[in-house]
Subunit: 208 residues, 2 copies
Amino acid sequence: MTKTMKISEAVVRRLPVYLRFLNELHKKNVQTVSSQDLGHKLDLNPAQIRKDLAYFGEFGKKGIGYDVDYLIEKIRQILKIDKVIPVALVGAGNLGRALCNYNAYLKDNMKIVAVFDAQPNKIGESINNLKVKPMQELCPTIRELSVRIGIITVPAAEAQSVANQFVESGVEAILNFAPIIIKVPNEIRVHHADFTTELQSLAYYLDE
Amino acid sequence: MTKTMKISEAVVRRLPVYLRFLNELHKKNVQTVSSQDLGHKLDLNPAQIRKDLAYFGEFGKKGIGYDVDYLIEKIRQILKIDKVIPVALVGAGNLGRALCNYNAYLKDNMKIVAVFDAQPNKIGESINNLKVKPMQELCPTIRELSVRIGIITVPAAEAQSVANQFVESGVEAILNFAPIIIKVPNEIRVHHADFTTELQSLAYYLDE
């Protein structure tokens, strides 16, 4: 069902937001939720939410709403986080450490399982139970742990080289935090998570 | 011209990406650039780029391309970063430090001018020439420095309280890195920059 449809990136980016709130509801033993409740909580138009979720089939029941657990399961399937996705990170600076500390939030089978850095003084440091490894171990470790996603938190000048090593090691997708556009083969998906971009696009919405 | 149009968030988010590359061209004394060159470098469809830039008027000349400096000036105007936009940050942990270190990249008049933290042991610490201040100084400092954008890098449990203090102090927009949805009055723009969301939406693009 989802395979033949092209879902817009905007929708794909909203699904984890829905998922987080649904997980909160699940914890509180809430069994159903309406698109109105979702919309109110997430500051989104309920019609937009219904449209987003309808992409994946008819989950909601009129007058009752959505079954929370079923919706969680469906979104996890759609996002492919219903199975384990090992993640590796290169760059054990402030940002890299901050992201490793997020591991606690990554309940949905996505976990940073290996951290690497090029600087000798960082090697062996412990971040959230992960020992920082040298770059020479990147490729064998990624293959051994079946890492599928790579995160880049190195300075701009080193980002392309790290991306190349990720690609050679068989990583399928990259989340790049370095403030530079990295080039990879077409079959590799790259998201640029760039602080400057976030901040500059926010400025657009300021009043004169 | 730009005032009456509603520009989609997707376009607003691409403009800083164009701007970064144009700034690189400017540094290399390149005077014109085609949508093909932009598209190749940024991994975007040239037609998409032409459409994005056409929103703001006709800047490109057929067969010649876009005037780099003029386009830089225009995008800066559209994003409102042609004037100074002071930014404040709350949460001097790993992520907060990483963002302060980005200050060097924020050439376009957006600068973090104040950093706050609730923990006494962080107060007075120096991050990239900024001294961490206590929360009691948030409101007076924001008013004194005319801060317009607030960044939240505190744990989820404290994010809403920080958002409230930003709003009370007169901040117009918030970039929230805490993994929680914060609620603010309608006139305040909030962007959620959430690592989990980035990672989960990336998983969608993995093969089965």
